[in-house]
């Protein structure tokens, strides 16, 4: 069963819905125009579009940014129209930069942001709402923060439900291990949501595989070099007991692969997450068992698009249902048999998306436990 095929089919269906969506969008513009001055600062004619993200050293964020740039190009503007705010992993800088930009633009801003750390999302959203800017968030926010509590200004939040896909990869891994042996997990920065969810996914899957032992789970901070060191230490501690490795993302998996390569260990099943080009290549040549593509390009573009179209008044977020304000992003598993096709479709040529099809590829409303 090819996951790719399923995804493509879904995309096709979504394209069909597209017509409706754009029609709707136009209608919204008209509606806003009719409502006129009754709504304070409802619409900007040409708001600044900004993306605030962690850094440029991780391919994941580069994909996000490329989506944001593709979106502004769809508006007929140059790539440089997109303002970049890089927080370097500092929530403090993230917030300060956003505030500076809000001041500079007097609130005429459509902001897409990953707040770096969940608690930082609230002050960012509050600051935007206060001056009437429009913000869409990605990944990090605390569970008590919801777009519908801020009227129109907090347009949307998108994240990925990683627990399910991570459980899927774990099952593939555990099957590859023959349902027995020992598995180790190398996680992200321990307090990051995806890191927690991806580990939970593994734990969920393990319930069905009583003969597999979770030997150890250590954070590798999304860092290739640290992952390499941790894996080397695992090899000392558990040696041949390790028969499978579950990694919280691709960059960690690279480090694991290198640690294994250094020992001359071949054929160890390793799973990854994120679907970066390099990881897809590894999947293709069998070094990695599976990775999960979260389509960051689309995520980056659509988050900016949501903020932008809300800001120009193309649609009114507060009139959207909740599943359009908090939703999961798409996930596609990339298995060896899909790798070549996947590469051709998503990596060698970036698909062109319709950035007004806001919720097409999305994956349902966010659920809280």
């Amino acid at each position: 069963m090819s996951f790719i095929k399923k995804f493509i089919e879904q995309e096709t269906i979504n394209r069909r819905d597209l017509l409706f969506a754009s029609a709707y969008g136009l209608g919204a513009v008209a509606a806003t125009g009719l409502m006129g001055p009754g709504m304070a600062r409802a619409a900007f004619s040409d708001p600044t579009v900004a993306w605030s993200y962690r850094n440029r050293t991780n391919p994941y964020w580069n994909e996000i940014v490329s989506g944001g740039e593709a979106f502004v190009e769809s508006l007929g503007k140059p790539k440089s129209f997109l303002t970049h705010l890089i927080n370097e992993g500092s929530s403090e800088k993230s917030l300060a930069d956003v505030k500076a930009l809000l001041s500079k633009t007097s609130g005429e801003l459509a902001l897409a942001i990953d707040a770096n750390d969940a608690p930082n999302a609230r002050p960012v959203v509050e600051a935007c709402a206060q001056v009437g800017a429009y913000v869409s968030t990605l990944w990090n926010k605390t569970d008590d923060l919801h777009p519908w509590d801020f009227g129109d200004n907090y347009v949307s939040h998108m994240t990925w439900s990683d627990e399910g896909p991570a459980e899927q990869t774990a099952r593939i891994l555990l099957e590859a291990m023959g349902g027995k042996g020992g598995v180790v997990h190398l996680g992200g920065i321990a307090s990051n949501n995806p890191a927690i969810e991806r580990l939970n996914g593994l734990k969920n899957a393990l319930k069905d595989y009583p003969n597999v032992e979770l030997l150890d789970a250590q954070p590798a901070d999304w860092d290739t070099q640290k992952a390499r060191d941790v894996m080397a230490s695992f090899l000392t501690r558990y040696g041949s007991e390790i028969t499978g490795v579950h990694c919280a993302n691709d960059t960690i998996a690279y480090g694991v692969l290198e640690a294994l390569r250094a020992e001359g260990i071949e054929g160890m099943p390793v799973t990854a997450y994120d679907g970066n080009p390099q990881a897809v290549k590894h999947v293709g040549n069998g070094e990695l068992l599976v990775t999960v593509f979260t389509n960051p390009h689309w995520g980056g573009g659509i988050t900016a698009a949501l903020a932008y179209y809300a800001a120009i008044g193309a649609f009114k977020p507060s009139e959207e249902p909740r599943e359009h304000r908090e939703f999961y992003g798409p996930t596609i598993q990339v298995l060896p048999e899909d790798a070549a096709k996947f590469k051709a479709e998503y990596i060698d040529s970036v698909p062109t998306y319709d950035w007004t099809d806001f919720w097409g590829p999305s994956n349902g409303q966010i659920e809280y436990k």
């Binding site: 930069d97 002050p123 321990a190």
Partner: protein, 313 residues
């Protein structure tokens, strides 16, 4: 007017020049309300730098502040429900304690502060990770507003954070200028052997300096935690190097005894202006860090007073 006389004024002149440059490039930068909000945003960093000034003023350094702040965000978030506003006391005491231990390790075990404070920071990080269960935690909004709501908001257009910052600056200035402790710090920073030979309890003063640094880091962490309405073991990451830069750019060199908390206020503002300039002057994303470094070199070259440095190490 000769150079020597205006030398001490270089830090704030540099600040003024930078602010004007950015203002010329983009006049909206100089709108008072936006300036005020920019300044208010850097307050947690400023408070941390304020504490760090005490460590650098005696010729040491405190690399634990960022992790202390991390730890405090967790403590504040975890115990807010249980202790209410008095969690602030616990936070500050925790900062004091860690700072004091840093000071003790530095001055009694003779571990250079560069390493001792770094190591104490690791310990604080462990505590933060343990207390948070390695998760990002958030505060109950009503509890937060009831207990610490006063920290934020505006009165007559002045952000409360700014009031807190000015109060703490005044406190730090008082400590530095008007107390026996501050005088002892100056003596130790300028000439430790003479301070010893005057019968000062140098070790106690130095331990206290690190404790003060820790306490200020805790206040910074607390404010940041309240501002972000949550806490985790990485929340304050990114503070450390900027706090050091703020102190140094203000004109308190690592050699000790020169500069002080007012300089740090200026230094923090310089950092703020440079950082805001990236946004206001629209520096492209990949170039920002490099330009930050270059501007930093220029700013430091302008602000440090070399007259009291015999050898430049």
């Amino acid at each position: 007017m000769n150079l020597e006389r205006i030398k001490p004024h270089f830090p704030w002149l540099t600040l003024l020049a930078l602010a004007l440059l950015v203002g010329i490039a983009n006049p909206s930068f100089l709108v008072p309300s936006s300036l005020l909000s920019l300044v208010a945003d850097i307050v947690p960093l400023f408070i941390m730098a304020l504490g760090m000034t005490f460590a650098i003023y005696i010729g040491g350094i405190d690399l634990s502040v960022q992790q202390l702040a991390n730890m405090v965000t967790v403590i504040a978030t975890v115990y807010l429900a249980q202790f209410g506003a008095s969690v602030a006391v616990i936070c500050i005491l925790a900062g004091l304690l860690f700072g004091a231990v840093s000071g003790y390790v530095t001055n009694r075990l003779y571990v250079p502060s560069f390493v001792s404070t770094l190591a104490m920071g690791f310990i604080a990080l462990s505590v933060a990770k343990y207390l948070s269960g390695q998760r990002a935690l958030y505060m109950d909004a009503t509890l937060r507003d009831a207990n610490f709501g006063w920290m934020f908001g505006n009165t007559a257009g002045v952000p409360h954070e700014l009031v807190i910052a000015v109060f703490l600056l005044a406190l730090a200035w008082f400590l530095q200028k008007k107390t026996t402790f501050g005088r002892a710090l100056k003596a130790i920073g300028s000439g430790e052997p003479a301070a010893v030979a005057s019968g000062l309890n140098v070790v106690r003063v130095k331990v206290l300096a690190f404790a003060v640094s820790g306490a200020f880091a805790a206040i910074a962490g607390l404010m940041f935690s309240v501002k972000l309405s949550g806490g985790d073991a990485n929340l304050a990451n990114g503070f450390l190097l900027l706090a050091i830069v703020a102190v140094l750019v203000g004109g308190t060199p690592l050699t000790g005894g020169v500069g002080g908390v007012i300089n740090t206020a200026v230094g923090t503002l310089i950092v703020m202006v440079i950082r805001a300039a990236m946004v206001y002057v629209e520096i492209s994303a990949t170039q920002q860090q490099m330009i930050f470094g270059v501007v930093l070199i220029i700013a430091i070259a302008l602000t440090i007073d070399r007259s009291k440095m015999q050898i430049v190490k």
